[in-house]
């Protein structure tokens, strides 16, 4: 077979799937520039950036932006701290550490929507074990996901439970792949441990940290499953993040145009993050191949 035709032939099915996905994406851009409400079809019309204009001047949208950013910053920040800490604790490949690392992966393999249901059972005000445990230390009126003041905290907690293992497992792999010589040399010279950590371990681990954090940032700002299953964006709008807001806009208010505009704003944010990711990914691959 001709060498010039073959690669195209092989990637044709994947190309077709790509087109099948680019089509709805283009439709979404088109919708985002329309006045399009399923309940009021006769009002449908092209309005250029009208939806975006009304989004950027509405306080509800800015609340959604704030909640999404808070959610992202807190989940990724705490997950990085916990994940890095756990990875350092499990750094040496002993049997115990390896078993612990495998068991700690289990939350990550739990469907996020189901994880929310698990935490819902555990935070039930009547019989939930967590409600019981905090009542032992004197906190009796803690309402978890049912109160607007603590709902965001509760969904962040579930996210941390599910996704910290992701950062942990990537950083354990990273730590174990680091060359040994700098550490051995530092030990011979009697360099203080904090110095070793901040000047050797952390800089060498940085590409892995960046990979893990970018993955998490992109996923976290788009979180839907955990929040939808736990609170559906409520109570009020206390956990209303981008995708949940777009979902409700579409299905509850049948406002297709506005929903598409919200998602386009989110897409721009994730697209920028994913460009950074690809750049970093290429560098890592090159380094891995250069080392072999």
């Amino acid at each position: 077979m001709n060498r010039r035709v073959l690669p195209y032939l092989l990637s044709l099915p994947a190309l077709i799937v790509c087109i099948g996905i680019i089509v709805p994406f283009v439709i979404a851009i088109y919708y985002s520039m329309q006045r399009y409400n399923l309940a009021l079809p006769y009002l449908r019309g092209f309005i250029w950036f009208g939806n975006y204009q009304s989004l950027f001047t509405s306080s509800e949208f800015w609340k959604t932006v704030t909640v999404s950013l808070l959610y992202t910053v807190f989940t990724v920040g705490i997950e990085l701290f916990l994940g890095l800490g756990t990875a350092l604790l499990l750094r040496r490949p002993t049997t115990f550490n390896n078993i612990a690392a495998i068991l700690l992966l289990l939350p990550l393999m739990t469907a996020p929507a189901i994880a929310s249901l698990m935490w819902k059972l555990m935070t039930n005000p009547g019989f939930g074990i967590l409600s019981y445990l905090i009542s032992l230390v004197g906190i009796t009126n803690f309402k978890w996901a049912s109160s607007p003041t603590t709902a965001l905290f509760t969904v962040i907690l579930v996210d941390i439970w599910v996704y910290t293992p992701f950062i942990m497992v990537l950083l354990i792999a990273g730590l174990r792949a680091l060359p040994r010589q700098p550490f051995e040399a530092a030990e011979l010279d009697g360099v203080p441990r904090t110095f070793v950590f901040f000047r050797i371990t952390l800089p060498m681990l940085m590409p892995y940290i960046i990979t893990a954090v970018l993955f998490r940032l992109i996923d976290s700002i788009q979180q839907f499953d955990i929040i939808y299953a736990m609170t559906q964006g409520g109570p009020g709008d206390s956990t209303l993040v981008f995708q949940v807001a777009a979902y409700l806009e579409f299905f509850q208010y049948t406002n297709v145009g506005r929903s598409a505009a919200i998602l386009m704003v989110l897409w721009v944010i994730t697209y920028v993050l994913s460009l950074v990711f690809v750049k970093n990914w290429r560098r890592l691959r090159e380094r891995a191949h250069g080392a072999v």
Binding site: P7, L89, P107, L108, A111, L117, L121, Q222, F224, R285
Partner: protein
């Protein structure tokens, strides 16, 4: 590293203990709940020792929940079957479409190849609702809404990028010299692909397949938007079940256990592949 003070050893053990409890206790507790009757669950203070019952699982498997008010039909086992069917067929389709493409991207440097590979990657990173909401209107028009075929097609959004990116990395790591030698012996391109390249990349293909099965199984939003009750997988079914079961907390816990058991078992079985798969091959495990 080896000269740790006793105080530090204690601190490390305590920290690790707290971390293990935080991440494993929820699973342990829900499993316990699934073997309890409602009266046992509602007891304060909660107990770790109790006489276990299988009644929750029996109700789910037989599909009938008998309460004081009457009996309630449960479709939970059907949701479980849907999860199994949707995930398996999506992964198979993605392997057939994705492995040849991954091979092409790894072996031939061509412009379109890079473009497709990065389009697939950006799909992995795009907000799913951005594709799903227009698709739900589109599916209504072309008659694909609420069909298994429609769902399997959309599940390619999860499976295909994973498979293409992981398997491509494996093909790139295999030296093409063996394939060249086999070709010079007079074998066709297809023979080389199936007899040499695919068997050598088998660990990568297995890793990608298992991981995309787990992600397909755990997916929630696709079927929430594109499927009706009788096509929905356990993730969506469990949420509906919570509403239907009301205060039958034991059954809810049993339903949770049944829906997470397959992926947890698979993850334990395939754990050595997970790191590479999770990072799309960016981090070698």
């Amino acid at each position: 590293m080896d000269h740790t003070s006793p105080l530090e050893t204690i601190f490390r053990r305590v920290a690790l203990g707290v971390i293990l409890v935080f991440f494993l206790f929820p699973i342990f507790w829900i499993v316990l709940m699934s073997f309890q009757t409602n009266e046992q669950i509602l007891r304060i203070p909660p107990r770790v020792f109790f006489s276990p019952t299988l009644s929750n699982y029996k109700a789910l498997i037989s599909g009938e929940l008998i309460t004081t008010v009457g009996s309630l039909k449960l479709t939970f086992m059907h949701n479980l079957w849907n999860s199994f069917f949707l995930s398996t067929s999506s992964v198979l389709v993605a392997l057939v479409l994705g492995v040849p493409a991954a091979y092409a991207f790894a072996r031939f440097k061509f412009r379109l190849g890079e473009d497709i590979a990065f389009t697939l990657l950006s799909i992995r990173f795009a907000p799913p609702l951005l594709i799903l909401l227009p698709l739900s209107l589109l599916f209504n028009e072309i008659g694909l809404s609420d069909t298994y075929i429609g769902l399997i097609w959309v599940y390619q959004l999860i499976c295909l990028p994973l498979i293409v990116w992981i398997v491509r990395g494996y093909f790139e790591d295999i030296s093409p010299d063996i394939e060249h030698a086999y070709r010079i012996d007079g074998h066709s391109w297809a023979q080389t692909f199936f007899r040499i390249a695919v068997p050598l990349a088998r660990p990568g293909i297995a890793a990608a397949g298992l991981l995309s099965f787990i992600f397909a199984w755990n997916n929630f939003v696709f079927a929430l938007i594109l499927g009706s009750a009788d096509k929905q997988p356990v993730t969506v079914g469990a949420l509906a079940f919570v509403t239907a079961a009301g205060i039958s907390y034991g059954q809810i816990a049993a339903a949770i256990v049944l829906s997470i058991l397959p992926t947890l078992a698979l993850a334990l079985y395939a754990q050595r592949y997970l790191v590479e798969g999770l990072s799309l091959g960016a981090v070698k495990g």
